[in-house]
């Protein structure tokens, strides 16, 4: 038993090393004064200084964030309405058809989606730039939101809706006061999924982006072709720390909430 446990632990350590080593490697070299990642020379903040002086790169980071925030916001609104529509469709065959059409977009490769958007935009004569990238990000995020929100709607007891009508609520009030609060966890999850997909995306963006606009992934790719500069390492390090902070905050909120419910349940039991 002891032995088995130790083996398991070793396995776990190896898995996490494989996952995190490349990132740690990048971060390590962000403090190197050399120009390549072959050997670590001297410790320096120089890479961070050049990063903060590189207004083009900072602007691209901000653009990427703005794009992600905006596209996931719009995709969440459209996707939530879509999920509500799918859930409300009376016939099972209609519902399955719509869900399948939604899933096809989820599984089809980014390259195909990107290429088809490029063809569409050129045919319609839409100039490539922020608008075209935004539109395509919204489009590939909607199915994700639908998939995150739909289970939450289906989980909902239909009697809750009946009860709301029974108590005098109109249809908009039922939506605002009962359905939306109930599916909010799904909407939030869908929003964050869409957000990360948008931040991540390279293939689709690469196709539909024009001269005036680039996202971080496209920019890093084009820079990497001329040999990667350690400035990118510094940027990666900062983004990694930022993500880590977000995860930690989320973790503490969760711990706090579950403690509160536990305390109240204990109180309820003591009272009874």
């Amino acid at each position: 038993m002891q032995r088995k446990n130790r083996l398991g632990r070793v396995y776990l350590v190896i898995v996490f090393l494989v996952l995190y080593l490349p990132i740690l490697y990048l971060i390590y070299f962000s403090f190197s004064s050399g120009s390549t990642m072959n050997t670590f020379k001297n410790f320096t903040w120089a890479n961070y200084r050049t990063l903060f002086a590189d207004t083009r790169l900072i602007q691209i980071v901000l653009q990427t964030l703005l794009l992600a925030l905006l596209s996931s916001l719009i995709a969440t609104v459209v996707g939530t309405m879509g999920a509500l529509g799918i859930a409300a469709s009376k016939r099972t065959s209609t519902r399955n058809l719509m869900l399948s059409l939604n899933n096809v977009l989820m599984v089809s490769p980014d390259v195909i989606i990107g290429a088809s958007f490029l063809i569409l935009f050129t045919m319609l004569g839409i100039s490539l730039g922020f608008g075209s990238v935004l539109a395509s990000h919204i489009a590939f995020s909607i199915p994700i939101v639908v998939l995150m929100v739909l289970p939450r709607i289906q989980e909902m007891d239909h009697a809750l809706i009946d009860a709301a009508y029974d108590l005098g609520a109109s249809a908009p009030q039922v939506l605002n006061r009962v359905i939306l609060p109930f599916i909010t966890p799904g909407i939030v999850a869908g929003y964050f999924m869409a957000f990360t997909y948008s931040l991540d995306d390279f293939a689709v963006t690469f196709f539909v982006t024009g001269n005036g606009f680039a996202t971080l992934s496209v920019e890093i790719y084009s820079r990497a072709r001329q040999g990667i500069s350690l400035e990118i390492n510094a940027l990666s390090a900062l983004m990694f720390v930022f993500a880590l902070l977000l995860v930690l905050i989320y973790f503490f909120i969760q711990v706090h909430q579950s403690n509160r419910t536990k305390r109240n349940k204990q109180k309820a039991r003591n009272a009874a």
Binding site: D157, A159, L160, D162, A163, A164, Y165, D166, L167, G168, A169, S170, Q173, R177, V178, P181, F182, T184, T261, N264, K265, K267, A268, A271, A272
Partner: protein, 362 residues
Amino acid sequence: MTTPIIEFQHVNKFFGDFQALKDINFQLDQGKFYSLLGPSGSGKTTILRTIAGFNSVTSGTVLFQGKPLKNVPPNKRRVNTIFQNYALFPHLNVFDNVAFGLSIRHVPKDEIQTRVMDALKMVHLQELASRDINELSGGQQQRVAIARAIINEPELLLLDEPLSALDKKLRQDMQYELRELQQRLGITFVFVTHDQEEALAMSDEIFVMDEGAILQNGTPVDIYDEPINHFVADFIGESNIVKGTMVKDYEVEFVGKRFECADAGMRPNEPVEVVLRPEDLDVTTPDKGKLIVQVDSQLFRGDHFEVVAYDADHNEWLIHSTNPVKEDADIGLFFEPEDIHVMRFNEKEADFDARLEQYEGE
């Protein structure tokens, strides 16, 4: 005579090919406690949902205080429902759940505060106002559902098997509380249940339903003492049902003997079914008994012994006896003429009532 609060006129309801309601006719008066009693699938919940407005009817008319309900949506009906699983809003706490109906109608904040606290006081939950719903026990959730429904001051409260999820002790307590609440508020209650004890204990009037039709309606005592047919007799309480023949008025023959009875108005020598309630059978010595049976087994039920015995024709007899009997012994069964209840085959409720009227009026 005031207008009935709810009236069903020849109501039929189809779900596809399935007929859920078959020519339903009834009237409910203001301020009474009604029960719809029947096995699952008998159409009782369909009637409830029709009154609440979640179902439309295929044909027929439903009147609310004399006005047709057809085009009134659920949120405009002065009717509230207590759902089977309470359907409390999980994202709202106790106070906000109860306040839901008032805040929907933009009642001023301070009025909501006082009315919610009054409603919570009525169901003994005023201390738990700020609790989350999932922190409450089943009985407490039940009370929140009641408070949420009565705060809107409905004319009619619909209850869809609200006690079925509670344990037995709590269920009995809630029966008293619901009955008491109904009398205090003077609201008409329509209570759907498949539990005959619940219906007998609480109702002013019971509608017994099966397969989408109302078989019999009347006070609990009427229905228990004079069931219209085999189904009702069997469904309401325990009973011994044997085949017999109505020899003439006030004389019935079953298990090969003739007995004096209290029923009349049937054709001579008409085949009938005879009901004898287990608690109406008194155990006595074989020579004093009207019937002689052999004890097969007995169970101790706390307040009585439940005895199963067989007569010479192998009919099973269920007897509730206050004293234990010896197993395999022959015992006599004694009963009064009024304890015998005779049922005709396929008698309609209207004919049944008319016949009872005819000879009970004498």
